[in-house]
Amino acid sequence: MPDALTAGPACPHCQAPLPGALCNTVGLVLCPACGGSLQAAVFPALFRPIEKGAAGERIGLEGDAGCFYHPGRRAVLACEGCGRFLCALCDVPLGGQHLCPACIEGGKRKGKLTNLNRHRVLYDDIALALAVYPLVIPGFGWFLSPLTAPACLFVSFRYWKQPLGVVRQSRWRFVLAILLSLLTLVGGALLLAVAFWAARSKR
């Protein structure tokens, strides 16, 4: 509870307020109240009052440009996505850009605004799993590969252009999955051909 009352840095275990000398230390320190080992890195934002959102200013002069969405409000800048004039209320700063709500919505829908992505499916991992797992599962896994190898190729080519994970830069998993699947298919075909040839030569 002291954390709620002091609004300053507090021990994460007993919630006792921490003096400034125990904050932003290089190593661990002991809480003066509970004796637990801790480290607290405190930043100026903790003591900064919450900023109020800017409201659009009403058009005062005859020659002032109006906001595209609020014609009665004065435009302060143009959207960097679509070029529409925006008032202070409609301006959304995101990742160093100033965008309008419509561009943000569109960017989020198309997945073009990386900073708004909260969830991604890792198709490259799925493709690699389809290629590798049947090979490493002994016995039964080999019989699955005629199904999983084409499935892996489908996933790889179908989702090649889909965005990868946010911190992933290369598509090496797709490449490896395609190579393994092709090898599996070619190897399987060769094996069948050899078996067929052997059976035929026996006759």
Partner: protein, 359 residues
Amino acid sequence: MIRGIYRRLPGRGRASNVVSWARHRLWLAPDHLLSVGNQGYTEDYKRFYLKDIQSITLQKTRRGRIINFVSGGVALGFALWALYGWLLQWDTVGVWVLAGHSAFFVLCLLINTALGPTCVCTLRTAVQVERLYALPRVRSSLRAIRLITDAVGAVQGALAPEAIDGASVAVQSAGTVTAMHTPKAVSLTAKGIKPYRSAAHAVLFTVLLLDACHSGVLFAWQSVLMYVLGLGILIALLASIIVALIRQADTDLDAGLKRTTWWAMRYVMVSYVLNTAMFYVFLGLSGRSVPSTTPDMWELMRSMWMTSPLDSPAVLVTEAFSLVGSGVFGALGWAQLRAFRRRRREPPPLAEVPSLPAT
């Protein structure tokens, strides 16, 4: 490692809750910190903008020591078992399998020791308090926090210790600013501490009482069925204690009740070790009395199960310990749980109504 705008920070960990087993990592961008939770074939992201981060706290925990204690205990148990088998000239393969199990747990112990002490890290902004699952170890967390601190300092500037004390005092004394901060902080606390709504503790204390009853009955009646029942109770006890410890984390459950649960876990561990030791002592004594070099294990175990606590001091000690320990912890836990439930059901005290001036 740098990928695009992101720089990978030290530390990786798993969300230690029942719902998610995601692997977490932290990545630092010029203007934000990215927490990546990988569930195998999907990833979830959380961004914390550097200008919004208010504090990062690290709290050292005892989880690492508990893991070492458990791994060491299990390794010792297997090692003693293997040694016993070797002394009695059991099948060599069996002895090696037991020794291999012991080596595996020794390896777990060594890896856990090498990784260093454990911790819990939390990040606070104006609207959230988030646990950083990617930082479960002190050593890597300190390095990661240093890098994050440098990046946040470049955006927000640094705070001197005097400035922190001064700012705290200013926040407490300035009415307008306090009004702005206090409700926010209260709501954060309300978000961080969840109301306890689980039957895990009720189940745990009931199972403990059942265990006490079971130990009591063993004084009068011994049979294979009773030992099978005891095994079932032990499994239920281990499972319910783990669930209770998980469920009580970050809840408004009484501190005394939480402490009792932790002590119950210690008691169960000691009881388990005591039972195992008793098992080996009993087998050792019986094995010596059996003339053949390869004794029939089933017969030995059966004879142990059928021994009354009144006939063997070793069995008497373990069963008495189980009867008293389980009984005390079960009854104490139930009493505390009932008090907690009663307190919660009581309505909050009414605010004093100002009396009307007499006319």
